[in-house]
Assembly symmetry: C2
Homo-oligomer: 450 residues x 2
């Protein structure tokens, strides 16, 4: 997209949402008496600067020219219907929107005051909702620096990467029911952890996690689904990726360490996973395609079914900031990273995911796994924080309120990410959550048997 593209609605150069982006989300008008949206009025919009543009209204006005059933797709309370239509519809929608919202050109709506009154709203006048009905949520583990850091912590530096890690995009199934929208509070979970992590024979205790952590991830939504048994090549897989959001895969490390052998993380991850509300289309990220931090070819090369002729990632800056309870704004940036450190591409992840026939559904969410420099790993691996992503003052310093090994009640964690263009940014907007104290379980918070 040429950078000179310009919308008739003015957009700050540091806004994540210029006309070059146009991310999709689900919104509803706020009622006059409350900050809640009217759920029965949910429909699809795009973010443009500080505005939200109502695509249901634009569809009814005919701007999508019948390229697909735009009224059905955009009157819907989730993006699933639009996602399922596939790349031709996505391209048609994006082209029509950029033409309509452009300052110039024959299809610009700049002069159509009545239509603009009907379709343009202030962001502050609407409530945002989960963008999709998420059928399944899969979390990958695709950042080499993070996998190395985890492996070093658990197995030492000599055996840091498991033998399978460089051969396939390692992943696990996550919990779809606990994916929430940015802004939702994050309740510190109670859970079982080892009484003495160095001596598991001493058994567990139950109570509030003492090692609550964030994880900075980028996640993508599956667009068109697949049938059971349908296998996607890398090139086909690429066309099934609809767009990306930021994901904070909140993790209770003490619970995780105790529960995860041999079947993987369970309750340590499934109490809450926050995503940013606006789904950035792949076409908006495409101008920022870049080699991975490991180089422009994959080393070692994977098996044939995972060979990606367009191997690479995106030059997208990622940041984590923390604002302790009562501390002055703004939140303090504690970590910086970049999508370029992902070793596996989204196409490889999806090709692998379907390689045995597992069916995909529109709206399935696929996390990248923690992107390294922002990892909130316990001390032995924290060194990775300064490594891959560069920059950052170290995750521990959070301003006058002191340091953080793990999150405290009242901490607000903000994830941000953007690609820097020439005079504009294509960004995700914030993915935010504030930690609430654990529920008081009373007599259940026992360190022994009742």
């Amino acid at each position: 997209m040429p950078p000179q593209l310009r919308s008739f609605i003015e957009v700050d150069p540091e806004s994540p949402f210029p006309i070059q982006n146009l991310p999709y989300g689900i919104f509803s008008p706020k009622s006059q008496s409350s900050d809640e949206g009217d759920n029965s009025q949910c429909r699809v919009g795009v973010a443009l600067g500080t505005k939200v543009v109502d695509l249901a209204v634009l569809a009814e006005a005919g701007i999508f020219d019948g390229a697909f059933d735009a009224v059905a797709a955009f009157r819907s309370p989730t993006l699933n219907a639009f996602m399922s239509l596939g790349p031709a519809a996505w391209r048609a929608a994006r082209a029509a929107l950029q033409a309509a919202l452009s300052a110039d050109g024959p299809r610009s709506l700049a002069g159509n005051a009545s239509l603009l009154r009907a379709c343009v709203r202030e962001r502050s006048d609407v409530a945002l909702h989960l963008p999709a009905d998420i059928g399944d949520y899969t979390d990958f583990f695709s950042c080499r620096e993070h996998a190395t850091a985890c492996g070093t912590m658990f197995r030492g530096a000599a055996n840091a990467l498991n033998p399978n890690w460089l051969c396939l995009p390692v992943a696990y199934h996550g919990r779809a029911s606990s994916v929430v929208l940015s802004g939702a509070a994050v309740r510190r979970p109670n859970g079982q952890r080892a009484r003495d992590p160095k001596d598991p024979s001493q058994g567990p205790v139950f109570g509030p996690s003492t090692k609550l952590d964030y994880e900075l991830e980028v996640a993508f939504f599956v667009g068109t689904g697949t049938e059971m048994g349908e296998v996607l090549s890398i090139e086909q897989a690429r066309d099934h990726v609809f767009g990306c959001v930021l994901l904070n895969d909140w993790s209770a490390r003490d619970v995780q360490t105790w529960e995860y052998v041999p079947l993987g993380p369970f309750l340590s991850k499934s109490f809450c996973s926050s995503i940013s509300p606006w789904v950035v289309p792949m076409a908006a990220l495409e101008p920022f395609a870049a080699p991975t931090s490991g180089g422009s070819v994959q080393d070692p090369p994977p098996l044939a079914y995972l060979h990606d002729a367009r191997y690479g990632s995106y030059d997208c800056v990622l940041e984590v900031a923390i604002q302790p309870a009562g501390a002055p704004a703004p939140p303090v940036t504690v970590s910086r990273s970049n999508m370029a450190c992902l070793h596996w591409t989204m196409a490889q992840q999806l090709a692998h995911h379907t390689s045995g026939g597992c069916p995909l559904r529109p709206g399935d969410l696929m996390g990248s796994g923690t992107i390294s420099a922002a990892t909130g790993l316990p001390a032995p691996a924290a060194g990775s924080g300064g490594g891959a992503g560069g920059g950052g003052g170290g995750r521990d310093a959070v301003g006058e309120r002191g340091t953080r090994a793990f999150l405290l009640d009242g901490d607000t964690v903000v994830l941000r990410g953007y690609c820097q263009g020439d005079g504009y940014r294509v960004g995700f907007g914030d993915c935010v959550g504030t930690v609430l104290p654990a529920l008081d379980r009373g007599e259940f918070e026992s360190d022994g048997v009742q």
Copy 2:
């Protein structure tokens, strides 16, 4: 339920579906021209002998007396709406159905020929569908004998049980999109496995799994859901269990061994999981409550939040039978076990699942994990097959067609389970799947790099 309860529709004493059972399912009438049901006509029914009773028709006839909105619940194409209503509605529905279908009593429909013509269908005249829209699928690992066998295989007999296993119901998140109804074909998956499992440094190959296995499990559906952050006590959890089905959690052992460290099973499990179509209500299993094979108290006792004052399981015989391609019926029983060998109760599983605040939705599916004697483990653990469940001729003997270490293409695997009452059985019916050959991946079936 007193065993003398008798329906006016005759039921064979060996049928799994007497009036004491009345399991719920989703059916649609078959059209005259095909064996496919009309999906737009899906609604709720109960199985009774060889018949299916249409609850939408009975609801419209008013037999549920307004105890809940029966027309909405039973006109629905999934059980989710009914599941969400909770135990009072479930009890009311069951009481009304048993009264209506009973041979005797004032509410018996025995003499109402016109209503019976409208609501009773032959099983062979309807198509069955997945009983619920499954939001999330969790698979536990709750059979001690199976966990011990797996642990022995991976870590030796001295360290067979992980330190966490006796302290919490170990589980992982499974894939909801690949849960299919009994009868669906099971395509052998392609996947990555170690070239030499004893030497992972030799890297992987890709191709059809050579170690395709079944897993005999009982799974339950969550009825009423929970909000995010809502925690269930054991007693509360019990009221959230709607009913049970059989589950065959088909597994590709070679893929599993290579992929599962450190995040657990992924594609080795998510190519297909088959469930039986009829959901047996907990009230139908209750008369068969029995101590677990470990005894009537849990040893060692778990932490307070997992203390189940009604600790126990069900005396429910479970069987696996295999019929190789071209072999004469019936399938040969290769393994027998019993639900009594489950160490963790469903109430404990749900209380644990919600202990950190993870929300449940109506229709969530919770697998027990493999129930031991039926485990299809590779040779080192196969000894467990003769242990817990007793009986059985060993899983390897499948009749004239020889023996099985793992499943061959064309094998049909049948799971069965029932509780034996006095003159009747409360059963699940069959959970069946036939193995199809792997898809030909052509050039992708490479053992090296393209």
